[in-house]
Amino acid sequence: MAALLDLLINNPAIILTIGAAVTLVAPRHLASPILLVFTAASAVKLYSLGLGEYGAITLFGEQLTTVRLDMTSRLFAVVFHIAAALNIIYGWGTRDRGQNFATLAYPAAALGGVMAGDLITLFIWWEIAAITSVLLVWAPGTRATYISGMRYLSIQILSGVLLLAGIVLLYRETNSFVFAEIGLRDADGAIKLSALFMFIAFGIKAAFPLLHNWVQDAYPKSTINGTIILSIFTTKLAVYSLVRGFPGQTELVYIGAVMTIFPIFFALIENDLRKVLTYSINNQVGFMVCAIGLGAINGAVGYAFGNIIFEGLLFMALGAAMYRTGTSKATELGGLYKTMPMTMVLCIIGALSISAFPGTLGFVVKGMIIEGAAGFNLWIWLTLLFASAGVLEHAGIKIPYFTFFAHDSGKRPKDAPLGMLVAMVLGAAMCLGFGVYPDPLYALLPDQEAVAKYHAYSAYHIVEQLQLLLWAVLAFAVLVLCKWYPAEVPSTNLDTDWLYRVPGRSFITWASGASRATWISLWGIFTGRLQAVMARIYSVHGPEGQMSRSWPIGFMALWTAILLAFVLVLSLRA
């Protein structure tokens, strides 16, 4: 039992989970301090553990490793702690118990997932992440969010089921639960079914193209703080799983390339700026997926680290504007720079960073990916460059421009509240700090050999990136001046999820109607027969009028008789 206790205490993810649980009981006004204290405690535990494997347990004869800290998982663990802390500060004083619980329980699950040394542990945290995160989707408590949350949950659970199927199949092949490189193909080049299941499970959470709709469906519907938290963990857990399971898998290069491109177009015409940012998540994860396929592991995990910070900063800045004005629609925002200057500056820092301007975190981490792509294939390299320009358009310019400048909405809100400002300042400080002095980040990267060879601020990198950015800025300016830029119009844009939401739903409605009718008719036949049988049994024992009243007992007795008959027949055969 002491071993079990040790297992629970020596796991940062459990510490966070306990913290989340405490907020359910503690007075509401203490929730935020409690969350922060437990995050700090967990961070201290993470630091004191150091690299290595902990929490080994033997389950069904297999050694499981509940906590595995190597260079890769530690980097994710560190950035998850940073993100969790920033989110808590940003949402300081939140009183909704469900939301406070999820604020830490959900990151805890993602953390547990990245630290899992075996597939069983991964699966458990994978499902907990799904369940805890849906609380955030539901947080606003409206019918629309409830339905959206159910859609979200079913897709996340589907991912978990696929993962489980993959794990079971893989175990039959390898007799091991260790979470190591899986590889999509076997020695003959044929696709392994087990790996395919897991690949799709990871792909759902990473929002691969056509599996991505749940992101836009669920994330923008949450609360301000909820959307920020959601945007961080699920997709990054998937990125980590892909890094661990499928590094250098060539298919990922093409999937990632598509992921970087297609959200750009949706993002450009989207009016709801929060939705624009959710498309940006797809695009950003695309860069990471591409890097995993290229085998540029440093690029993938480094970019995940950076993205969590600068994308989070953008979400926070937009959230602050939304908190003050009550809307995130481009048509209803604009001109806020006059009264929200701090938020505006911080938002622009995030925008510069996501666009990879030199001197920011984005520049440092993006270089690692583009460099890898150049050595792979000209087309992929060009695609990524084009996508980078697209990032600048939709995330780097569109978000700050339409929120703080563009046409004056006439709104004159106060600047962001203190908690939000503190979180954003910390985020912005990291964007700039790591941009100028990236060595601490480098020290965390898994492939130290590659780090030694990598120079972010080479003349070539800077010139290449500046050319790209300046031309893209020029393009934006020209488009806006000539009024060719897609105007902000209040509209709902249909994504491919329309396919399963409209024709798909009518099909399901039809199918469920048909199956219900079949079931009812079959049931009618069955109960008709059964009633006849019961009537015969009861004609001996009592007046027929009482049959309906004694039906339940008769029914029970019948079951007993059936079972006895079954056991007797079985004993005859044995």
Binding site: V25, R97, G98, M556, T560, L563, L564, S571, A574
Partner: protein
């Protein structure tokens, strides 16, 4: 007189002799205090007995000095000592708890009968557990069942449906008992003995249709008593309409004792020499256990009545115990025994919490639970913690149970069963989560019949309930006691069954 030598008979003889005196006491407080005292004395005797057995090994007591196999033998080993402590322990908590609840739910002039019947019920359950004589099991089973029928019917003051529930249970219980006694009769015909140990010796090597049929009758008879799916239909109504305190006591003890009897007959009386045993595990207990885990749990999800939900959940939880048994390994049987104890702790606490709500809100509908955390925080948290335990959250006994079960499932090579255990725990999360959501997040009713004043249950109810909740956590952290005892008990059982 040497007390230690007489110890094995005390848990039965003390309440059996003292119970009728309850009827002579003045109505009101006196029967309650008296019955509480008797239950504590019995509990103390059981604790001594467990300590004695844990140190000295199996105790055999010859009733009236008639030597077995002719005389009745009380035979106490670890397995039944554990169940004895469980039953008397739950009784020792439920009796003090019952007073306020009974005051509300039962006519004052019935109170001596109520406490007397409850004592007799406890006696019957203890007798079933302690005896080493197959026919004696039937006698005590009837003693406990008859008093149970009366106790459930006493719920009629609040809800007339208690009468039909009790009647249904009467019919079904009688069928079960009849099957059981037919089975015993067949075994007696084949062997000429009723003593369990003696039966085991004489059955060895025998292989006849009579014994097979006897086995089938006994399995189905006990299966009915322990509410094995699909013979569980009597249970939900019985538990729902019984007086709250009775539900708490029965849910924690009655089916558990039946599970114990099943274990005793399968392993001690029949044993692995009996050719048909393996088929019964594979084709009856395993599939029905799994089916119960899912069907009953799913039904529980859709219940509007919290007591009924808990009752269906009990049927599902019995599925876990049957599953553990069906592995027919030391791990499986010990997991089953551990769950017998642990499930009693959690279900006892849960039903007690419902009793507290009934006391204040006058209903066990889920609507009465709306915003309960603001009205009755201590009751709410008792329900939540035991609910988490039911789901199997770490640091609670539920987790320990699931852990042992999972380990047993995988050790026995039943992969899919392991995953099904996890899946059905998720269903438990659903039905407990539903109540949790109503209690924590809804606003309390401001009009209509579910309005509750901001006043928690009285201390006489809170203290016993929280003792059980604390036990849920204590035995969840410190598993040495239950885990170790259950394992030793299972090893002894398997040894007599002739494993290996």
């Amino acid at each position: 007189m040497n007390m230690i030598a007489q110890l094995p008979v005390l848990p039965v003889i003390v309440p059996l002799v003292l119970a009728p005196i309850t009827l002579l006491l003045p109505k009101g407080r006196a029967p309650h205090l008296y019955a509480t005292f008797v239950s504590w004395a019995t509990f103390a005797a059981c604790i001594f007995l467990l300590r004695e057995v844990a140190e000295a090994g199996v105790l055999s007591y010859h009733l009236g000095d008639w030597a077995p196999p002719l005389g009745i033998e009380y035979r106490v080993d670890l397995a039944n000592a554990l169940v004895l402590v469980l039953v008397s322990g739950i009784a020792a908590v439920v009796f003090p708890f019952a007073y306020r609840s009974v005051q509300l739910e039962i006519d004052k002039h019935q109170s001596p009968f109520f406490y007397g019947a409850l004592l007799i019920c406890m006696t019957g359950l203890l007798g079933v557990t302690i005896t080493g004589d197959a026919f004696n099991v039937f006698v005590f089973l009837e003693i406990s069942s008859l008093s149970t029928y009366a106790l459930i019917a006493m719920g009629a003051r609040r809800d007339r449906r208690a009468l039909t529930a009790s009647f249904n249970y009467l019919v079904m219980g009688t069928i079960g008992a009849t099957f059981f006694v037919i089975g015993i009769g067949l075994l007696y015909q084949a062997t000429g003995t009723l003593n369990m140990a003696d039966l085991h010796d004489r059955l060895a090597g025998q292989n006849s249709r009579v014994i097979d049929a006897g086995f089938a009758f006994i399995l189905v008879g006990i299966g009915l008593k322990l509410a094995m799916f699909p013979m569980h239909l009597w249970l939900p109504n019985a538990y729902t309409y019984a007086p709250s305190a009775v539900s708490a006591f029965l849910a924690a003890t009655a089916t558990k004792v039946a599970v114990y009897v099943l274990i005793r007959f399968l392993f001690t009386v029949f044993g692995f020499d009996f050719a048909f045993l393996g088929a019964a595990f594979t084709w009856v207990l395993l599939p029905l256990g799994l089916a119960g885990m899912f069907v009953a749990s799913l039904v529980a999800v859709f219940q509007e009545d919290v007591k009924r939900m808990l009752a269906y959940s009990s049927v599902g939880q019995i599925g876990y115990m049957l599953l553990g048994l069906s592995f027919a390994t030391v791990e499986g049987v010990s997991a089953s025994l551990v769950h017998v104890v642990n499930h009693a702790l959690m279900k006892g606490a849960l039903f007690m919490a419902v009793a507290c709500v009934v006391l204040r809100a006058g209903s066990h509908s889920i609507h009465a639970f709306a915003g309960l955390s603001k009205r009755m925080p201590y009751t709410t948290w008792a329900f939540l913690i035991s609910g988490l335990s039911l789901i199997g959250v770490p640091l609670t006994v539920g987790f320990v149970s699931k852990w042992y079960l999972l380990t047993a499932a995988f050790a026995a090579g039943h992969w899919y069963a392991g995953f099904l255990i996890v899946a059905s725990s998720l269903i438990a999360l659903l039905y407990i989560g539903r109540v949790a959501e109503v209690m924590l997040l809804r606003e309390p009713a401001t009009e209509g019949k579910y309005v509750i004043a901001k006043q928690d249950a009285p201390l006489s109810m809170l203290i016993p309930m929280w003792i059980l909740v604390a036990a849920n956590i204590y035995f969840g952290v410190n598993t040495d006691l239950t885990g170790d005892l259950a394992r030793r008990a299972a090893e002894a059982l398997m040894l007599t069954a002739g494993a290996g």
